[in-house]
Symmetry: D3
């Protein structure tokens, strides 16, 4: 596999014209206000024992998301930790949900709390549009409801993700001044959206090989992965009227959220990523409004990015910014 | 590409054990009754001129489907034809909708009326679950709501398809005694479902390379196409608890509908079809309850089946059964 | 799949240097004169009934082509239409022939006559070089006889295509002042050739995603499809003496025919076309001599171009130019 | 890549029913008689110097083939060899010609004469049907003229190949009692045809991974290579009338030639060959009429067979049969 | 992707003939004795702080392996745990090493100690044959030294893996009566080898989708992954003398180790695994000598097996056998 | 397949910055001196008879290579030739060894002597690091020992290749003033290395589609072949510390050897080569220090380059430089 995009120098200078809709802020303010109006309690049930864990305490959480609907999450923290703990809110990649707590052991091992947020429809425990229990479907989210920003799937999911940050304040033992939002691929795009929509309420954002950025170019150059659902849509359904779809997507573009985000940011990118081509990541990074921003470049990585080498980079970066848990 | 399945001899004998759920008939009776309870009028608007057609009369139809929601369809017929005309109700392949009337010119040229039924969510004009106007999404339908027969996507779509047959009676100039249901791939699976659910109300069924048949084997052996969404679901979401998904699918399996269907049937199959492997088609065909059933075998065809060679076969077969329009 | 070529802006400016051979006009004048010298009658046999069609009248036509050899065609027109009708002469894509009349129902439904021209050797009914009846072969045409313009396969096929226009005058009920030549892929390349070779005898040309254009670049950048036969030839047979092959191809290049063509032209292109890369289409379009030329851009389309969305564009465009049939 | 066919045990027993047409022998007798009627001289020109060779003497040969047309060949022999020498007549793989003498140095180095026969149309120096000089085309031969045994391409090429054996008698210094016919892939199929058509005039035949055998199965199971041209033909052109094509091919099937061949035979096969699947090779081998037959099995080989390991096997095998040149 | 092998029923009965060499036990006894003769101390250095971990204590271990050479390992355990702890000795997949401790957090979180063993040559910290520091190479191990069991790469690596079990006794706080050996893919094959070579010294073995089993079939049917290196070797280097390679491999085959292993065993398999086809896993499982053996079947899984769903299965299975840590 | 790189014009100007390490010359002088210190005799055994050759005399040679270890080679020459003969020293492509003498018949047929040098580890007859007899392994050489120039695999292999030139002087009947070094792919990279390390001791160098050149770009843009082993190493093992690997490779880069080489040079390149992309070949060519350098461009060739058309080009080029054998 060859490099999938420009070289690093060109990427560093890549800053495509902004496409923020005029009513972008209004749209999101309205959307979030509406969601918050529904209120609803955050619930947590201790489930450590059933997963056989000893050093970690696990709660099965439900918090109110879009339309007040209950969104599932795992809360993990070091057993016996005296709070308040810094907390990493983690979002999940495309076509997957929160999975099992045993899949998320890094942050609690490092002394952090972690809230792992389910993705509606994509996971087992959070139906989209009250369609029944359980996992719902594989694929299709990328274009679901794309005719209008009002009905687009990611309006609902991104609202859930912001409400996850709201939920942190309701959970005991967490330090609401040290909320970090993070995730890889779709999770990275969602973290970026949350950073743009919550301003200084999050202390840091760490999007890894983020998806959901710079759709216009992503549709033109991505080689694999869920942007291809968009390409198929434009090929078979929109054909020569492609602007309406992009007009919807402008409300959900990481490049636009980046222009509203101010928290310290640690991005990562793989220069051989066929799914989220480097320029789409750099477009968000180079537009990022916060001054403290860092890009970890994995030069020969595909969409797996830095894999097991990435967590140490993130742990150091958070420590340098005073966000690590006390000893 | 090699043959994707058994040879023709083995296929002719292939008759897997039936997996009809005990409450299969009750489930569908309840579902259809519920849909019909909503009532609602069938509406048709003449749109011939805007498509520049001269020999064909085109109506843009809306009929009440699942939950009474309006389902789009095109009605095409030879201009100036004296009715009542035999009518071919056509269902569409996966991830597409009714498209434009200019894409459906065969049956009216041959003197039939044709009702081309949109697929909710998949096409531009029939939203699923009132999610807004326009086309909705690409992919994902195969597993949407699969946790239960109640919430499964195809419950709604198949109901629409049965209601299309109901709608024929409401449309002037059509002969309700000569309703043929037909389609290729997903359209073939839907036609088979309708044949199984409407009994002798349809005069013939013509499923070409039908999808939505014999899911258990399809998941094991298909090489490409939308059964792969099911495979991905079973791989990533269900893992070693795969029976619940198959239990849902039993309510929507062409092999089961075939056991309830009695109309004369003309199937087709491609022996190199990687999407709908031959045994899945033969499983439905060999279980078909009606005595008058024919299989057109295209020995070296892939999922395109007989392409342009298929219509003459269908035209002859219908004529032999007295279903052709009068001169 | 990513974009396969430049962006639209660069394509609009792409105008490679002309490579018309000095004796290009002389070569074709000589070739066509020779073919016409053979004379021969145009024959038509009414076959509507055997294809079960009601609104369309179909004739099975044989007209004299290269070397006076009989070339098969279908003539379709609205049943009972009072002529003279505008006529769309349609050429066929690579490795296929005229097929069945039921595959060509658009133009007659819209009130036009249509002449569907078989491709010698590629179809069932027109042998190349009197090799016997029936279909002859799959593939290989691209380089057959490439050593010299005299023996190159497309010399014979393009001559047939011009002679199809000649034949229109011999067929009753057609309006020789409203001849439109059209086709997709190879059919588009042939339509362009005919437009260049017949001057103002054709009233319009509509090449969709045309093949047979700008061979030098096509050989360098196409990813799939029959230009690969040329690449294989140059790789295995010509090796470092590639100029002679290109010198032959210059006599058959849509870019060169475009410089001789003056009829109003409606091209189409898919920006993700791996078979006929956009720049090869734009090279012909930007060199097109006629002033009334339009490009329909399907931004995310592959070689399928605009599919079912294209006919309405063509119907409108013809209507605007006064070429539509009278009501 | 996995094994492409049965295991060795099943292959050893694989003996499909014979499909020799009733008039097979009459067809070939007539065809060869007709060709020989044309007569014509064998011409040879010494060209050693221009290829810079020192130990080999090279002649550029033309001998009369089908229809008396001149077929090109290279004759190589050890410089200064006292004849008469045993001679290996070599046929070439699909879509290639005799190439250059420097590509054929094995047999002369081992003391044999070698006659390398060009394939009409496929090579640079032997046009098919007098279509002009030079190489002609890439691909398409597999189905060219397939409508009838009379017009099928391989009728002409196989006649050339038999006439090459006739030509040996006309060339000085060769031992007509020690003619070995050989080749790989298409060359192997041609060698087998010649063995079947010349009886005891050839002293041995060595078909490596032979093509042109057992078309019915080859079309069903081959994964790659020129049998795919046949599959495409059957898919797109013949559709459900596939028997006529197979009826033509029966006249050109290595399985049928094998039943007429008696010379000692050394076959080879690769058990992972995706182009010429093992059972198609074994079908010919197991039907081979001569008693002295050997199969070299290369268990993990693809269509490259034994590559550089094969010549020593052949040299030994010939030596054991007294066919090696004297010291 | 379709099922890559037999159905589950046939797999349950699949028990290929044993190919254990006569001197198998002698070979391994000699090899291990020789390695142990070198002696050497086990060293451990506390490195928890530099990886930023809080709930886990990490030691960087070096223990003496083949030829007494130092082999790297990570030892992880719950911070502050009172020993002695049950310990899971983990081996790594092909072309990777022990990586970072942050990649191995499951077992310590569940209260176990874990020893993660580097693979010589494949990882960063354990050179093979003292070739210098650092990672050494990617690929090639499968056939390195395959000419003889003495020189084969896996002789050295498997010896290291047995010596890792020896090392457990030297490390404080571990319970030598509760040693579990485990791993996925190559790691599973190594765990099986260790189980066969250490008898009742290990309390359980958990091979997931194990590699290094039943080479004769693996070479014939695997579709992807490192068995292809063996296929390439047999294709290009051994050709028709393939038995010597298999004779070497018999000393390193999981099917043979299984016949010597008695510890309770928990295997897993994916029925769509293209890398380690199901029958190769079942061959070892069905030959497994211990009576307490369980197969976890993931019916639609590829080589990723049960992924995140597998650990809970393993945790329960160990708990049921009294191997879980005390609360 | 499209062009894999720049057009010819840009390639002609492509001259990347030099990356020769400061101690490059010292490193190689030390390495070669060390190897020569070991001394050792060149041995040759006559084996002509066992390969059944008549016009060629073959010796099985062992000469001392790196660490004085015996390296296998074939020496072929025209039987009965009066020396001293010009000699072509040939190196072999990746993952293969010297094979059999019957695979190397060109140069002796043209009157030259040829020394075919085995590649340690890659062939059957030259173990790397005294690991036992026979072939050793497939793949992995590209990164073996890459941590340091001292331990890198190619340090040993390139030393063998230089020592092959030393060995020529020890073999009777060869003309040490007419030594040509040559090879394709890896063999071309090795020939270039030897040309750079032996200065005017070689009379000419002929690298065809050379591998082992310009690693930094090769890793970024190659699409297939052994540079992918480097990419995998950088992706999975080095991640964001990729400079150390490139620092090692600088000692083994054809671009750097080219700057030290002065013999007349005949390169070749395929503009569609996915394995050794054109710019990597031109980088060496454009940096080549000798003034007499020629590039044979095969415009549509993949990694097979000019195949059978290349030898005549090389024979002419050598003749023009007075390096051909006397008549």
């Amino acid at each position: 596999m060859p490099f999938t995009d420009f070289g690093v120098d060109e990427l560093g200078d890549y800053r495509p014209e902004s496409t923020i809709p005029q009513d972008f802020d209004e749209f999101w303010q309205r959307t979030l206000t509406e969601a918050r109006t529904h209120g609803g309690a955050v619930k947590a049930e201790r489930v450590t024992a059933q997963y056989g864990l000893r050093t970690v305490e696990v709660d099965d959480v439900r918090f109110p998301g879009w339309n007040g609907e209950p969104v599932a999450a795992w809360l993990l923290r070091p057993r016996g930790a005296a709070g308040p703990l810094p907390v990493v809110v983690t979002y999940i990649g495309y076509s997957g949900g929160r999975g099992l707590p045993t899949e998320h052991l890094l942050w609690s091992a490092a002394g952090y709390a972690q809230l792992v947020v389910d993705s509606r429809g994509q996971g087992h425990d959070t139906p989209d549009r009250t369609a029944g229990d359980g996992t719902q479907w594989v694929g299709g989210f990328m274009t679901q409801g794309i005719d209008s920003p009002e009905s687009y799937y990611y309006r609902r999911l991104m609202t859930d993700c912001v409400r996850a940050v709201d939920a942190v304040a309701e959970l005991p033992g967490l330090d609401a001044d040290r909320i970090v939002v993070a995730g890889g691929s779709q999770g990275g795009g969602l973290a970026l959206a949350v950073a743009g929509l919550t301003g200084d309420r999050v202390a840091a954002v760490m999007p890894d090989v983020p998806f959901l950025c710079h759709y216009r170019e992503a549709a033109r150059i991505s080689l694999d992965g869920p942007y291809q659902e968009l390409v198929n849509y434009l090929r078979w359904h929109s054909r020569h009227r492609v602007q309406p779809a992009f007009a919807t997507l402008d409300y959900f573009d990481g490049v636009n959220f980046a222009q509203r985000a101010t928290a310290p940011a640690l991005f990562s990118v793989g220069l051989m990523d066929p799914v989220c081509p480097p320029r789409t990541v750099y477009a968000a990074f180079n537009h990022y409004a916060g001054e403290d921003r860092t890009m970890t470049v994995w030069p020969f990585a595909d969409h797996a990015g830095g894999c097991g080498s990435n967590p140490p980079v993130q742990l150091s970066w958070l420590r340098e910014r005073g966000l690590a848990p006390e000893l």
